[in-house]
Symmetry: C3
Subunit: 350 residues, 3 copies
């Protein structure tokens, strides 16, 4: 981290927070609440972590509004509406900059003469840019990355090392693509025949909107025809699999190791939690949330939560989840009934 000191008062001003306690306490870096030393800014963002306020060694903390009445004699609390955002602001002050990517074409890069390079691009060592590719102004092509024939990328993208973008795919502006990502591998389609499985040609492309982020080793397959479409502001974690002809709406979040089968349509603002899966040819409405590891097999209306495999509504899922305890109660009831019946039979002298 950078060498820097900030007082609690300065921090409150930077983040627009409400100061509870001394403004003079000084911090020299930042840390999580468990590890923080007295010289480190930390945070407690949710009421349910309140206890951590008692045990932390941190002397200056960002806290959520629910914790505004916590004691502030021994430590200074800065109450914020959005603790995450506030902490990120201070973190950014301490963070060392990422490396600078040198502008220009590294002599070891292989750039086809027909490729069009925008202004201020950085084409790094051993990158390969094929014929007809277009790289927008200010875009970085990391070391060893492969930009296929006629690929188009927008402005100010960060294409990290060892990324592969296959022919004709289109990437918007301000897109961040982490190492090992593959865009435009063939969709998976085979038809049984007398000669075994025969490949269905995958003739379409992948189109990525603006301001998208794609995590390490994620794969997005080209369409059978037309486009596999990832709209703007979508955020994709590592090792996510997006099959051919999938469409993903704006600002959706795909967490690590989730997968979406062919031709599924995912709405805006959808969250697919880690390791979840979505069947092909179904639709998830805007704002749908899918719990981690769930397998969604039929379409889900906008705004709903889907849980379990096959995924159900939260109510159905909980009902299924509670079965063992409900079963125990019913068993006890049946045992009681049996006993009563025995007694009744005995009383009837039978």
């Amino acid at each position: 981290m950078k060498k820097l000191t900030l007082s609690a008062g300065e921090i409150a001003e930077i983040v627009g927070g409400e100061l509870h306690g001394s403004p003079d306490r000084i911090i020299t870096s930042v840390a999580g609440v468990v590890d923080a030393t007295p010289e480190q800014l930390s945070f407690v963002g949710q009421k349910r972590y309140e206890k951590q306020l008692e045990t932390t060694k941190a002397k200056v903390l960002l806290v959520c509004r629910d914790l505004m009445n916590a004691p502030c004699d021994e430590r200074t609390l800065i109450v914020c509406d959005n603790v995450d955002l506030a902490f990120s602001q201070i973190l950014a002050r301490f963070a060392e900059e990422p490396p600078e990517w040198k502008i220009g074409v590294h002599p070891s890069a292989v750039v086809d003469p027909s490729a069009k390079l925008g202004e201020g691009v950085s084409i790094n060592a051993n990158a390969v840019i094929e014929a007809g590719a277009e790289i927008g102004d200010g875009t970085v092509s990391g070391a060893g990355c492969y930009i296929g024939h006629d690929v188009k990328s927008g402005r100010k993208c960060l294409i990290y090392p060892n990324v592969t973008i296959m022919y004709r795919c289109v990437v918007g502006s301000l897109v961040v693509i982490h190492p090992g990502v593959v865009i435009g591998g063939d969709g998976f389609g085979f038809i049984p025949s007398a000669k075994g499985l025969v490949k269905v040609p995958q003739t379409g492309i992948v189109r990525i909107g603006d301001d998208v982020e794609i995590g390490a080793n994620t794969t997005i397959d080209r369409a059978r025809f037309g486009e596999t479409l990832v709209k703007s502001n979508v955020k994709i974690d590592d090792q996510v699999m997006i099959a051919h002809n999938v469409e993903i709406g704006e600002s959706s979040i795909l967490v690590a190791q989730c997968g979406i089968a062919g031709s599924a349509r995912i709405g805006r603002g959808v969250v697919l939690a880690a390791k979840s899966g979505v069947n092909g040819h179904i639709t998830l409405g805007d704002g749908v949330k899918v719990a981690g590891t769930s397998g969604v097999v039929k379409s889900v209306p906008a705004g709903q939560i889907a849980m379990g495999t096959p995924a159900e509504t939260q109510r159905e899922y909980m009902s299924r989840y509670m079965l063992p305890s409900k079963f125990e109660k019913l068993s006890a009831k049946v045992a009681a009934l049996t006993k009563e019946l025995e007694e009744l039979k005995a009383a009837a002298g039978k």
Copy 2:
């Protein structure tokens, strides 16, 4: 897509289909049934999607035999036995060709003098071919790919950019390997000891048959000894994990993100749906189908369907799945019994 016009009559002839409605309607490209415009050929391949025939804007459609009696005044229907195959045939006519891979060795590629290159190979920019490797006639080694020591590849393979094939592994002919695939990483084996976990040497190889396709970022580990074996015509999707000493029979299909643990034996024509897993040291008979996300923990006889985790037969799985509703019915029955018993006791004057 290529510029091209086809009449319904011409299409029926190409695919060998039965024309219902005017042969003169003209299409200029192809699309899915939801997105198609009146100038685009589309298709409805299953009876259960019949409703789409009413709402689509397409005027020329390939349909399955079950839909042969659908109205054909406003649109021309071409009835086919295999709609998928027929559509692929027309799609292929409109599809732009993939890029051509230039024959020869790119000057930036690093090819060991002892490597043997077949006729008509295409070794692309920054590819690395190690000592003793053999590349068959007409095979493409994409940019940045790594072909290890003594690796052998057959004829007419497409090894896409940034693929890694480690030493001594063997690849058949007509194999397609998508970007980011790793063949021949070490199998995962460690033995607990006083000094911690100690590596078990992984001394075998991976052998891939003919006409296999391997999706982006899939990994296939080398055997502890002997071979990890993927037989001919197997089709593997993206991000599949095949552990050491696994054997996969001909024409099996491994869908995205599935995984197979060490020494499992998978028969011919098996389908592992997305995200499914197979335990080590078990056998899946020919034609077994494993449902998506299922975890198979014991061997499955030929022809069976395995569902759930731990995977069961379809009947067992459905019985488990229906438990909540069956439980509700039993609860109601117990409540009724309880009431009757109370009445009986009351009547008995107890």
Copy 3:
């Protein structure tokens, strides 16, 4: 395999095993018990595989102590305390050596002048070493791998081809990193705002201890701040996902396709079986075992086994698993009760 012959007597001596049967039988290679020919050494490591002793063609076998009384007329048995370890010892004798990685810097590699290379390093074709990186003595950087700015690696690491290690990350000594691994991609953090999802800067690093192994295409993300930490002797399989700020204790085992969400703390000697997942911000105590495909959503005390999704104790899990059969029994009981009640009512003349 190497050409070599060993007698049963020699093998018993090498592994320190107890010879049952003739010491003169000769083997010329090794194989699994199902495939072994009479000239191949094989093994049966667990009592439950005893039947394989009757059907195998192998004439010399390593067996566990539980099988010491098996018949040894037709085959020689060598009884060992640790069959796996013993077999590995013999296997190592037959195994061909992996390729030698040439010491020095390949002319096609791109090494920044400010990078510090230790003695005896092997920097292979098209590898890229950025400014400020330090490569320890005897470490191999495979073809096409990317070692980012200010990355530090210890001694005698094997960094295989096409690995990516991003800026400032730190790798210990004797670490093996398989192809396609990405260390130091950004952690996944975004905050909703009026302008859509806004990135949380990921300013920390990844730190890998000594003697760690990392399987093909695994991804380990850099911390939001501070470190994502993989301690010494941890063994990681292929396609594992480790999110930002996770900490993994010594000698833990992470099997293929498992994933750990942000800030989770994994103890020493933990086993995460294949495809399991661990929620963010929870703690798994030392020695915890998580069953394959399980999803752990809350902290697990040291030594426990967690199974299912959401993960429970083994007892809870089994209770849930047995529900269908328990339900059938309860149903039968209720049916019997109903019948008795009917009879009672009839007898009461009601």
